[in-house]
C-alpha cells in the first residue's frame, strides 16, 4: 500500500499539487489522468522517490525504506537513449543489477529469470536483437520485462502506449493486464489517453486544479466530471462492453 498523508508536491516552493490524502491499495490497478501540465509526472516522480514532498509524507507501510527495490518502473520508451548499443537480453538483465549486487556478475539463475520473462512477454526470439532496431511496441515490452525481472510487487508505467498505433496500444495494455493478474501486482499507470485508461484500470484518479479526485473507474468517469476537468463536452458510450470517450466538437 502507498499512503499520501497531507502531501504537497512541486518544484522549489511552488506547489503543483496540494493536500493529497489518499491510499493506493495493494493489488490495485490505479490510473492517473489529467490535462497536460496538471501534475501527472510530478505525482509519478513523488511515488518513485525522485521528488521530495514540499509538505506531508508518502509512506510505504508494507516495505519501509526498502520500498524502492519493490517498485518496477517502466519509463516512456522514447526516454531510453538509442545511441547505447545493447541487446534485448542485456537490457532486460539490467533490471536484475540491484538484485545481483554491486561487484558480482550475473549468475545462471539471473539469465534464466530474464529468459523466462522474455518468453512470458513473447520476446524470446528477439533476445539477441539490438534494442534500437525494435519497433515501439517491442521496445515497450522490453522495458516492461526489464522492470519485471527485478521481481517487484508494484509496477509503475509512464505513458506506456505513447506514440503507438491501435494494435500496439491493445497489445501492451493486454500484457500489463495479464502481468497484473499473474503476478498479483499493484499497477500504477499514468496516461493522457482516457479511452485506454477507462477500459483497464480499477481505480481512477483525475488531477484537477492542483488536487486529485479518485474512486472506482465507473463512478469517476462521468460526462460532467470530464467536461469540468478538460473544459470540453464529452460523451461516454458503451460499445460492446467497452467504454469509449468521444468529444463533442460542435458543442
Amino acid at each position: 500500500m502507498i499512503e499520501f498523508n497531507n502531501v504537497d508536491l512541486g518544484y522549489g516552493k511552488n506547489p503543483v499539487l496540494t493536500s493529497l490524502n489518499f491510499n493506493i491499495q495493494t493489488g490495485d490497478f490505479f490510473g492517473i489522468v489529467g490535462p497536460n501540465g496538471a501534475g501527472k509526472t510530478t505525482l509519478l516522480k513523488a511515488i518513485l522517490g525522485l521528488l521530495k514532498p514540499i509538505k506531508g509524507e508518502i509512506m510505504f507501510p508494507d516495505h519501509g525504506k526498502g520500498y524502492r527495490k519493490m517498485i518496477g518502473y517502466v519509463p516512456q520508451h522514447a526516454s531510453v537513449d538509442e545511441i547505447f548499443p545493447i541487446t534485448v537480453l542485456e537490457m532486460v538483465l539490467m533490471g536484475r543489477y540491484e538484485k545481483i549486487g554491486i561487484i558480482k556478475k550475473p549468475k545462471e539463475k539471473d539469465y534464466e529469470i530474464v529468459k523466462e520473462m522474455l518468453k512470458n512477454i513473447g520476446m524470446e526470439n528477439l533476445a539477441s536483437k539490438n534494442y534500437r532496431e525494435l519497433s515501439g511496441g517491442q521496445k515497450q515490452r522490453t522495458l516492461i520485462a526489464r522492470a519485471m525481472v527485478g521481481e517487484p510487487n508494484t509496477l509503475i508505467l509512464d505513458e506506456p502506449v505513447e506514440g503507438m498505433d491501435i494494435h500496439g496500444e491493445i497489445t501492451i495494455m493486454e500484457l500489463i493486464k495479464s502481468l497484473h493478474a499473474e503476478y498479483k501486482l499493484t499497477v500504477i499507470l499514468v496516461s493522457h489517453d482516457l479511452n485506454i485508461v477507462a477500459n483497464y484500470v480499477k481505480t481512477l484518479s483525475i488531477i484537477d486544479k492542483n488536487t486529485l479526485k479518485l474512486g472506482p473507474v465507473d463512478s469517476m468517469l462521468s460526462e460532467e466530471t470530464l467536461a469540468k476537468v478538460y473544459g470540453i463536452k464529452v460523451k461516454i458510450a458503451n460499445i460492446s462492453g467497452q467504454k469509449a470517450i468521444i468529444s463533442k466538437l460542435n458543442e
Partner: protein, 270 residues
C-alpha cells in the same frame, strides 16, 4: 626510418605516456559519447589546462594543481542545476570560455608566454619522466579497478539515469564517480599530451567503436585499439615528417575514423 628506431630510446618515456593516455582516455570516451557529455569533457580539459597555467606562474606542482582544478570543474559541470532559465549546456559553455580566458591571462604573465600556450595545447613530451609514468600508471590502474568492479553501475547510469535512480541505486553518487575518473584521466595526461590530444582521445575512439559495433564490450575494445594504433602511427609520422606529434595523432585518429565509414555503410546496406 632507421633513425626512428635508433632514437626510440630517447622518445621511450613520451611514447609510453602517450600510450597510457590513449588507453585510459579512449576507454572513458565510450561513456562520454554514450552519456552525451562530450562538451563536459572538453570544458573539464580546459579547466585542467587553467590549473597547469596557474602552476606555471606560481611554481606549484602542475599535476596536483591540475587535479585540483579538474575536480573543481567536475563538481561544477556534473551538477544538475535547478535553475530553469539557464540550461546546463550554457553553464558548461561559460565554464569553457572562462577557463580558456584564465589560461591565456595566466600564461601571458609568464616569462615563456606563447611557448607555454603551445605546451598546454600540444603537450610537452620532455616532461615525460619515469616518475611521471609511474604516477600515471598508478592512477590508471586505480581508474580501471574502479571501472572493473562497478561496471554495472556505470553502464546503468549511462543507459538510463532515471531508471537507475528508481531502482534504488545512488545514481548521483555513481555519476559523480564516473566524472571523477574522467577528471583524473584528464589531469594526469594534460601536461604531457596537451589539451588537443586529450580531447581527441576522449571523443574520436568511441565514435569509431560505435560506428562499427553493436556490442558495448566490442566498442570498448575497438576504442582502445584504435587510439593505441593511432598514437603509434601518429608518433612515427610526426618523426619522419618532422611535424608536431599531437596533431599527427589526431589526424591519424580521424583518418582511421573515415576509413571505417565505408565498412559501416556496407554493414548497414548489405
Amino acid at each position: 626510418m632507421n633513425d626512428f628506431f635508433i632514437n626510440l630510446e630517447f622518445f621511450k618515456y613520451s611514447i609510453i605516456c602517450s600510450l597510457l593516455v590513449a588507453l585510459v582516455c579512449s576507454y572513458l570516451s565510450v561513456y562520454i559519447v554514450l552519456k552525451r557529455i562530450v562538451f563536459v569533457s572538453v570544458a573539464v580539459t580546459q579547466v585542467s589546462s587553467a590549473g597547469i597555467a596557474l602552476a606555471f606562474i606560481t611554481g606549484l606542482n602542475p599535476t596536483l594543481t591540475s587535479l585540483l582544478f579538474t575536480f573543481l570543474g567536475v563538481a561544477i559541470f556534473s551538477t544538475r542545476f535547478a535553475e530553469r532559465r539557464l540550461s546546463n549546456e550554457s553553464i558548461i559553455g561559460m565554464g569553457f570560455v572562462v577557463a580558456s580566458a584564465i589560461t591565456i591571462l595566466l600564461v601571458s604573465k609568464s616569462a615563456k608566454g606563447i611557448h607555454e600556450i603551445d605546451d598546454l595545447l600540444f603537450g610537452n613530451v620532455l616532461v615525460a619522466t619515469p616518475y611521471q609514468i609511474y604516477l600515471m600508471a598508478i592512477i590508471i590502474v586505480c581508474i580501471f579497478i574502479v571501472h572493473f568492479l562497478f561496471y554495472k553501475k556505470f553502464t546503468s547510469i549511462t543507459l538510463d539515469f532515471e531508471m537507475a535512480r528508481t531502482s534504488g541505486m545512488n545514481a548521483r553518487f555513481w555519476e559523480l564517480m564516473l566524472y571523477l575518473t574522467i577528471g583524473a584521466a584528464i589531469s594526469i595526461g594534460i601536461r604531457t599530451a596537451g589539451n588537443l590530444l586529450i580531447t581527441s582521445f576522449l571523443i574520436i575512439p568511441a565514435a569509431n567503436g560505435l560506428l562499427i559495433s553493436n556490442k558495448i564490450r566490442t566498442v570498448f575494445i575497438i576504442a582502445i585499439s584504435v587510439s593505441i594504433t593511432s598514437a603509434c602511427i601518429g608518433f612515427f609520422l610526426s618523426y619522419i615528417l618532422d611535424l608536431p606529434t599531437s596533431p599527427c595523432i589526431v589526424a591519424t585518429l580521424f583518418i582511421i575514423l573515415c576509413l571505417t565509414l565505408p565498412f559501416r555503410f556496407l554493414k548497414t546496406n548489405l
